[in-house]
Point group: C2
Chain length 193, copies 2
């Protein structure tokens, strides 16, 4: 049973690396098998189809993201610092050599129209992130619209860092977030049309 879980993990980890690095459709199941070092039969015993493997990979990646965010926020004392820690977390990630954008955005763009399951996992991950930000914004006593704005900055930073190759997108997002947070706290009650 532990062996099965280990095999499963090895498959997911190998597929995640390959899918993220090359895109999903560019990676054949044979490449996943080779990278995982397991017979194809076991791979299909764990995942009935490539679609199921894609979903498992994205869910695994979602867990890694959550852990990274939680870890970064854990070292920050206040809600405001926790919010800003998100951008510091992004900054470190953007500087990874194999950074290639947000895996969920990439997967959605490639497979979203063709695989409803993939689209749904991506949507759920983005919603979960927005909820996380919204919680901190509420804790801060700022209006909910701020959460949507801060999330936009994080999303934009990911695509900009990926395509333009500028890791300082995280610093720009962080600076903008500071301004938005301060402005929201200064005038907490109204939204301009």
């Amino acid at each position: 049973m532990t062996d099965l879980a280990t095999d499963r993990d090895r498959i997911v980890a190998a597929a995640d690396r390959l899918f993220y690095a090359r895109g999903i459709q560019s990676v054949g199941m044979d490449a996943v098998r080779t990278a995982a070092g397991l017979p194809l039969k076991r791979l299909y015993a764990e995942f009935p189809s490539k679609d199921a493997l894609m979903v498992a990979v994205l869910e695994h990646r979602s867990g890694i993201w959550d852990a990274g965010i939680d870890d970064a926020a854990g070292r920050a004392p206040t809600a405001r610092d926790k919010l800003l820690a998100v951008y510091d977390f992004l900054d470190g990630w953007f500087r990874d050599d194999d950074f290639r954008g947000c895996g969920f955005i990439n997967a959605f763009g490639e497979m979203g129209a063709v695989s409803p399951a993939v689209a749904e996992v991506a949507r759920a991950q983005k919603e979960s992130f927005q909820r996380y930000i919204a919680g901190l914004v509420a804790e801060l006593g700022a209006p909910p619209a701020l959460a949507a704005q801060l999330a936009l900055l994080a999303e934009g930073a990911q695509t900009t860092a990926a395509i333009s190759g500028q890791p300082d997108a995280a610093a720009h997002a962080r600076a903008a977030a500071e301004v938005l947070i301060d402005a929201a706290l200064a005038a907490p009650a109204d939204t301009a049309a």
Copy 2:
């Protein structure tokens, strides 16, 4: 010659529709041929490979984007209004029934690691957009960092509207942009560490 140009345009338009709607690798050259209503031979006479067609499609899409932005900005009197018009333009786009995110982000995520040509066209388009924003920001007399921040909001709005399916991402981005612009104009000369 005009006929050749027309055929080329029909191919690019058909491929653009299909690639954007379903993703690039999910669309075969045969589907493009059928949609364009042309023999496969002529398709390959115009574009030596699918990679070349992808590049042409993205360049075509880049022209459409530029025209849309220019049109929206043209109806705005001041630099500030032109900057905000970008988000109004996005708002209208997000409400299209067939909106499925930024074609360049999608193409980059799917093909960027596998086709350097696609990655380069996507990068060039994002750079061109950043330059456009930077020009308006300079005209406004605000520090250059504001341009990067405003671009992040636009990018983030596109992915959020696509994945979460919330067209109001444009309105959130616009509201945040107003705050950032006003703050930048109030204190134009320094950047916090």
